[in-house]
């Protein structure tokens, strides 16, 4: 149950978007987050929406997965919309209701802002749905590798991240096991006042931490005997390869950015 929460976000597939280099996806997402703010009229928002929808269709992710990802922030979108509708006092009054005046500019502004929000969430969700966490890690390591010049331990950070990813299910399993063991001894995790429940958590956290440290030590030994001595002379099994599709997508994004600049009012 808990496993699916974190690991289950990735939807396995072999679509064009899945096969893109994680670096492309990371850079595209980064740029997209900025160019979304260029849009300020119907044309530009329309163009952005088309582009985003095209990406989504190409990813061949079932729509239900996307909706599941959107559910938690749906009320935030609705809230921003209402806030803009109620607080903007520009343009013509569209209707009045119990002394609340709603202006047409307000509706437009509200729609644009919540659409911008929605587009941002869809694109970032698309990244996590089509890229495994380990690919994201590899992509980050490769993109940040110039920082090595300034003695930033990029390789070590990436390795730390991939080991944490690998141990999430193991520690989840362990948490469940300890919880059951403590429940069998009469610890109540789910009812009672908050302070009581916090106290019950120590019965879970202390054994969990002890075992995590023990695991870390054993893992360090296992890594050392398999010859791990830091990143300097290592080769990489997972090599990232920049393909033509990657170049094409980067070009498309550049075109989109230019079009947005030209069309915005």
């Amino acid at each position: 149950m808990m496993n699916s929460m974190i690991i289950g976000k990735y939807v396995p597939g072999d679509s064009l978007i899945h096969r893109l280099d994680p670096r492309t996806k990371l850079i595209m997402m980064f740029i997209y987050v900025f160019i979304v703010f260029l849009a300020n009229n119907g044309w530009t928002y329309g163009l952005l929406t088309c582009f985003t929808c095209a990406l989504f269709v190409l990813s061949r992710i079932p729509i239900t997965f996307m909706l599941k990802g959107l559910k938690p922030i749906l009320w935030v979108i609705v809230f921003t919309f209402l806030l803009h509708v109620l607080l903007t006092k520009e343009g013509h009054v569209v209707f009045q209701w119990f002394g609340i005046e709603v202006y047409d500019k307000g509706i437009q502004q509200g729609a644009f802002i919540s659409l911008r929000f929605l587009l941002l969430i869809v694109v970032t969700t698309l990244l996590t749905l089509t890229t495994t966490p380990i690919e994201v890690t590899d992509g980050m390591e490769s993109l940040l590798s110039p920082l090595k010049k300034w003695n930033i331990p990029v390789h070590e950070l990436a390795l730390m991240m991939s080991i944490s990813l690998r141990f999430i299910p193991t520690l989840m399993e362990e948490t469940e096991k300890i919880m059951k063991a403590q429940m069998a001894r009469g610890v109540d995790f789910s009812s009672g006042p908050l302070s009581e429940r916090m106290k019950a958590m120590t019965a879970l956290l202390v054994p969990l931490f002890i075992s995590a440290f023990k695991r870390a030590e054993e893992l360090a030994v296992a890594m050392e005997v398999r010859g791990y001595r830091g990143g300097n002379y290592r080769t990489k099994w997972r090599e990232l390869t920049w393909k033509r599709a990657d170049t094409v997508f980067m070009l498309l994004l550049t075109l989109l950015a230019i079009a947005l600049c030209l069309l915005r009012s």
């Binding site: 690998r166 054993e218 030994v221 296992a222 990489k236 099994w237």
Partner: protein, 284 residues
């Protein structure tokens, strides 16, 4: 015969403890041999494993691996010649998938990608895990994880494989899987194996057995020779294999068994031949 591991007069004392964890240990392991080191908890056998892979420095004495003396400068060289599989299947799985885990050691040695992919496939085939190459560790059983650990070790083409209680956390079927894989490796690829265990059931497979107690090697010999000490082993806190216990107790009940039985098959076959011989005499 070629000596792969030579341990000479090694002693070890943990800091803050006045008794020696290991005292004057000497032994040799020859190429292609399967040596089992058996001992009760606290007999010093795990300390010995740590010394062999250079995780602890010996207080006195020397260790040679393939002729290289083990010291601070040569420790990485020595580790290239040793592969070790530890007790806990989870805590030695470094990669996020099976192939990544086998690749980890190869990456550390700076091996090129083509060669890596060849060695990963070969190693996984040897432990019969080639169908699981993309699996994450949480989708594998304990026995499967240990087989991947063995693959990770043999992908580095070591001269010796050390099994440090590698089966002690596994269920009976996992134990069987791992031992089966090790046996086939030794049969088909003439792997030199040092197996460290407290389980006398694993001893029967060895060419030679060293029994440790209180930091010393107290007995050495073939499995049959070791088991002939029976009650002495039990005094050292070791459990005799069930077949051996049963055959000894049957002998106490004056059932004329001729041998000490190290495995079930031998005992069963002697029992049924005996039984049919007895029923023949009764009917006559």
């Amino acid at each position: 015969m070629e000596v792969v591991v030579r341990v000479e007069d090694v002693s070890f004392q943990y800091a803050n403890e006045n008794i020696y964890a290991l005292q004057n240990i000497s032994f040799q392991v020859y190429k292609g041999e399967w040596v089992t080191i058996v001992g009760h908890n606290g007999s010093g056998k795990s300390t010995l494993a740590k010394l062999l892979i250079g995780l602890l420095p010996s207080t006195s004495g020397t260790i040679h691996v393939c002729g290289i003396p083990l010291n601070e400068e040569t420790v990485w060289d020595v580790r290239k010649r040793l592969g070790i599989v530890f007790q806990n299947p989870d805590n030695q799985f470094v990669g996020t998938t099976v192939q990544d885990d086998v690749a980890f050691g190869l990456e550390n040695q700076g091996i090129q990608k083509d060669e890596m992919s060849k060695r990963i496939n070969e190693a996984l085939k040897k432990v019969k895990m080639e169908d699981f190459i993309h699996h994450e560790p949480h989708r594998l059983s304990g026995g499967q994880k240990q087989r991947v650990a063995i693959a990770s070790a043999i992908a580095l083409q070591p001269n010796v494989i050390i099994l440090d209680e590698a089966t002690s956390m596994l269920d009976p079927s996992g134990k069987k899987e791992v031992l089966h894989v090790m046996e086939s490796l030794r049969r088909e690829h003439h792997m030199t194996v040092i197996s460290i265990t407290h389980d006398l059931n694993e001893v029967a497979k060895a060419d030679r057995v060293l029994v440790m107690n209180k930091g010393r090697i107290v007995l050495e010999g073939t499995p049959a020779h070791i088991f002939s000490y029976g009650s002495k082993l039990e005094q050292m806190g070791l459990d005799l294999p069930f077949s051996l216990q049963l055959s000894q107790q049957l002998k106490q009940k004056h059932i004329p068994l001729t041998m000490d039985h190290l495995n079930m098959e031998g005992l069963v076959s002697e029992l049924w031949t005996l039984y049919s011989a007895m029923s023949n005499t009764v009917t006559k």
